[in-house]
C-alpha cells in the first residue's frame, strides 16, 4: 500500500520556486525596519506564520491553505504556519477587519513576541475591498496594526502569496 500512497505525489508535482517580489523586497527594506544582526541570525531564513481571518469571505483562506499542497509546498522555503501567536513571527491578516473581530486581532498581535511582521493579504485586508462602505467594518488591516507588506488580489493566488512571503525573507537577509 505504501507504494500506492506515495505514487504521483513526490517529485513531479512540486514546482520550482517563484521569484521573490523584488519591488516588495525593496519597499520592505526602505521601510527601515531593518533587524539587528543578532535577530537576523536567530530568524535565519525561517518564518513562522500565524494566519488571522479578520472577517474575510474565506476566499483568501482557501488560497493560503493551498500553499501547503504538493504543488507549492510552502515549508520547503522555511515558511510554516503555526497555531499559536506566541510562536509566530508573521501575522498574515485577511478580510476587511470587522468591528466584531478588531479586538481579537489586536490581542493576537499583542501575544506575538517581537520582532514581528504584519502582512495584509487580499484586497480586503489591503484596502477594505468591496466592503469599504460597510458601517460594521473597520477597514484595511493598517487601520488597526502597522502593516509591513501588502499582497493584493481577490483572493491573491498562491504564487502571489508565495512571492510576497519570500520577499519578506529576502528583505531580512
Amino acid at each position: 500500500m505504501s507504494k500506492l500512497l506515495w505514487q504521483g505525489l513526490l517529485a513531479p508535482l512540486t514546482e520550482p520556486a517563484p521569484l521573490a517580489d523584488a519591488e516588495a523586497t525593496a519597499a520592505l527594506r526602505a521601510l527601515g525596519r531593518e533587524l539587528g544582526a543578532a535577530t537576523r541570525r536567530r530568524l535565519g531564513r525561517s518564518l513562522a506564520i500565524r494566519e488571522l481571518d479578520a472577517g474575510s469571505c474565506n476566499g483568501c483562506e482557501l488560497e493560503i491553505n493551498a500553499l501547503s499542497n504538493a504543488f507549492y509546498d510552502l515549508e520547503r522555503f522555511g515558511l510554516r504556519f503555526v497555531a499559536s501567536p506566541r510562536h509566530a513571527d508573521v501575522l498574515l491578516v485577511t478580510g476587511p477587519v470587522t468591528l466584531n473581530m478588531r479586538e481579537a486581532m489586536e490581542r493576537t498581535w499583542r501575544a506575538m513576541p517581537a520582532p514581528k511582521f504584519v502582512v495584509a493579504a487580499g484586497d480586503c485586508a489591503v484596502g477594505c475591498g468591496l466592503f469599504t462602505a460597510s458601517p460594521v467594518c473597520v477597514g484595511a488591516a493598517e487601520k488597526v496594526l502597522p502593516v509591513d507588506l501588502r499582497i493584493p488580489g481577490c483572493p491573491p493566488d498562491p504564487t502571489g502569496l508565495l512571492r510576497g512571503l519570500l520577499s519578506l525573507i529576502e528583505a531580512n537577509q
Binding site: L9, C57, C60, E61, L62, A83, T98, E103, A133, V136
Partner: protein, 489 residues
C-alpha cells in the same frame, strides 16, 4: 403548487414557484404550529423595515408568507420551532424589530461593537453538574479557518454540551447591496462565502433575471452548471482530504489537496479565475469559456477517473481511519428533518433533498444525475455522500461539455430596469443557498436576503458532538464544514 396546508395558508393556487402572500398575525401563529408539527419546512426567515418574511416548503410546494410587524413586534416562530431561533435573533439585531415571546432573545450577530460600542459580555447558557469543566475556543482558531467561538462543557474527555457563538465576520453585506446597481450587488453576493462564490453568484443572477423577466442564453446556462460542479468538486476534494487529516491520516490530505489544486487550475484555465469569482453575472456569464478550457476540463476529468478510485479504496480500507469516522458525530434523521438541514449533512442523515433536483433550476432538469442519500448520519456517512457526489459532478460535467457543443456563444442579456421580486434556491457544495431579491423601478437593489445552508447545520453540530470526546471535535467540525462568513453575512 400542490394542495396542502401551505396552499390553504396562502389562500389560493399560485402559478409562481415562490408566491409571496401577506398574512395576518393569527395565520403567522398558525404557521408556528405547522412548523413544529413538521408539516412545513422553514427555508428562511428575514425582515425588512417593518415586514417579516418566512420562506416555506411543503413537499414540492414553496411559498413566502409576510407579516406586518405592528409597532415593531411580530410573533416569534422560534417559540414553537427552534430552527427559527437564530434567524429571529439576527432579525432583532439587524432591524430592531422584536420577536414576541422569543425564548432566547440574546443578541446573535451584534456583539455590542457596532456604532462605537466596545462590546457586551455574552451570557452562555448555564450548565451545571458535578465534575464539569468548560473549554472556551476561539474566535481565533489554531488552523487556517474562519473565526467563531465554541464553548465546550466537558466531563472528563466527554463533551456534555457545545454552545456556539457566531457573528464575528458580519460585514453588513446585505446592507451594502441596498441601493447598489445589480452588477455591484452580484459581486457582493459572490463574496458572502468565498468557497461557494459560484453558487451565490448563480443564485443572485437567477433571482435578478426573475425580477427582470429574462432568462440567460442557453450556453451561459450550461457554463453556469459547469462552474457550479467544478466548485463542488474542488470543495469536496479539499474537505475529504482535510477530514482524513483530522483523523491523523495526512497522506490522503496530500493526495486530495493535489486533486483540488488541479480543479482550481482547470477552472482558472477555463474561466480566468481559480475560484471563478465574478464569472457568473446577471444576464449570463461574464465571458465564454476560454478556447483551451474544454480540453483542460477533459484532462481534469481523466485524472480524476484515474486517481479517485484508489484514493477512495484507501479511505475505505484503512482501519485506523474508519475507526475515527464510523459512528462519530452522529446527526439523527429526526434532527435533520426538523432543521430541514441541507447538503451532505442532511443527505447523510436520510434527508433526501437536493435543490438541483427539487428546484430543477438553470437546466439541471435536462441532465441525468443521482442524489446519494445515506442513513447513518456519522462522519463516515458525510464523507461517503461527498465521494458519491464527486462522481455525480463528474458525470454532470461530462454531459455539460456535450451540450456546450450545440450551444453557440451569446453575450449576456442586459437587464431592463424594472421593479420586481425574484427568488432562487441553488445547491452549493454545502447545501441549498436561498436568495430573495427585490429590485426597485430604476433597476437597483431595493432589498436582498440570502440564507446560507449553515444556518440550519450549525445547530446540528452542537447536537452531534454531545457524548463524543473533545479530541474528536475537529474531525466532526470538519465533516460539517459550516460557513462562518456565509452565516454571518
Amino acid at each position: 403548487m400542490t394542495e396542502g396546508v401551505l396552499t390553504a395558508l396562502t389562500g389560493a393556487a399560485h402559478t409562481a414557484r415562490w408566491p409571496r402572500v401577506a398574512v395576518v398575525a393569527a395565520t403567522w401563529e398558525e404557521l408556528g404550529d405547522l412548523l413544529a408539527a413538521g408539516t412545513v419546512d422553514l427555508v428562511s426567515l428575514w425582515a425588512e423595515e417593518s415586514v417579516v418574511h418566512a420562506a416555506l416548503r411543503e413537499g414540492t410546494a414553496t411559498a413566502i408568507l409576510s407579516v406586518n410587524a405592528t409597532q415593531g413586534r411580530f410573533p416569534s416562530l422560534g417559540r414553537h420551532h427552534p430552527p427559527a431561533l437564530r434567524l429571529e435573533r439576527a432579525i432583532q439585531d439587524l432591524t430592531g424589530l422584536v420577536a414576541d415571546g422569543i425564548p432566547d432573545g440574546r443578541p446573535w450577530l451584534d456583539h455590542g461593537r457596532w456604532a462605537g460600542g466596545t462590546g457586551t459580555s455574552y451570557e452562555f447558557l448555564p450548565v451545571e453538574g458535578e465534575g464539569l469543566h468548560q473549554i472556551p475556543v476561539g474566535p481565533v482558531h489554531a488552523g487556517i479557518i474562519e473565526p467563531g467561538h465554541f464553548r465546550f462543557t466537558a466531563h472528563g474527555e466527554t463533551v456534555v454540551r457545545l454552545e456556539q457563538r457566531l457573528g464575528y465576520t458580519h460585514k453588513g453585506t446585505a446592507g451594502l447591496m441596498r441601493g447598489a446597481d445589480v452588477s455591484h450587488a452580484a459581486r457582493l453576493a459572490g463574496r458572502v462565502s468565498g468557497d461557494a462564490t459560484v453558487a451565490y453568484a448563480f443564485a443572485f443572477a437567477l433571482a435578478a433575471e426573475q425580477c427582470a423577466g429574462i432568462a440567460a442564453p442557453a450556453r451561459a446556462q450550461w457554463l453556469r452548471i459547469l462552474m457550479a460542479e467544478l466548485e463542488r468538486l474542488a470543495n469536496h476534494l479539499g474537505d475529504i482530504g482535510a477530514i482524513c487529516n483530522d483523523a491523523a491520516f495526512a497522506i490522503l490530505l496530500a493526495h486530495f489537496g493535489a486533486l483540488r489544486e488541479r480543479v482550481l487550475r482547470a477552472s482558472s484555465a477555463a474561466f480566468g479565475h481559480r475560484l471563478m469569482m465574478d464569472a457568473i453575472i446577471p444576464g449570463g456569464v461574464a465571458r465564454d469559456i476560454a478556447p483551451d478550457g474544454v480540453a483542460a476540463i477533459e484532462a481534469l476529468l481523466a485524472t480524476l477517473h484515474h486517481q479517485l478510485p484508489r484514493l477512495v479504496r484507501t479511505y475505505d480500507e484503512t482501519n485506523s481511519l474508519q475507526d475515527r469516522t464510523v459512528s462519530t458525530g452522529i446527526v439523527r434523521a429526526a434532527w435533520a428533518r426538523q432543521f430541514a438541514a441541507g447538503g451532505f449533512i442532511g443527505r447523510a442523515a436520510g434527508r433526501d433533498f437536493d435543490a438541483r433536483r427539487c428546484g430543477a433550476y438553470g437546466g439541471y432538469d435536462e441532465l441525468a444525475f443521482d442524489v446519494p442519500v445515506l442513513e447513518a448520519g456519522d462522519v463516515n456517512a458525510r464523507v461517503w455522500v461527498r465521494i458519491r457526489e464527486l462522481e455525480q459532478s463528474m458525470t454532470l460535467i461530462a454531459q455539460v461539455l456535450q451540450r456546450l457543443r450545440a450551444a453557440p456563444w451569446q453575450p449576456p442579456i442586459p437587464l431592463p430596469a424594472r421593479e420586481g421580486e425574484g427568488v432562487a434556491l441553488v445547491e452549493s457544495f454545502r447545501g441549498d443557498v436561498f436568495l430573495w431579491l427585490r429590485l426597485s423601478p430604476d433597476g437597483r437593489v431595493a432589498a436582498c436576503h440570502f440564507r446560507d445552508p449553515s444556518w440550519f447545520q450549525w445547530p446540528l453540530l452542537e447536537a452531534a458532538i454531545e457524548n463524543n470526546i473533545v479530541a474528536d471535535f475537529p474531525l466532526c467540525n470538519k465533516s460539517f464544514n459550516c460557513a462562518y462568513s456565509g452565516h454571518d453575512g
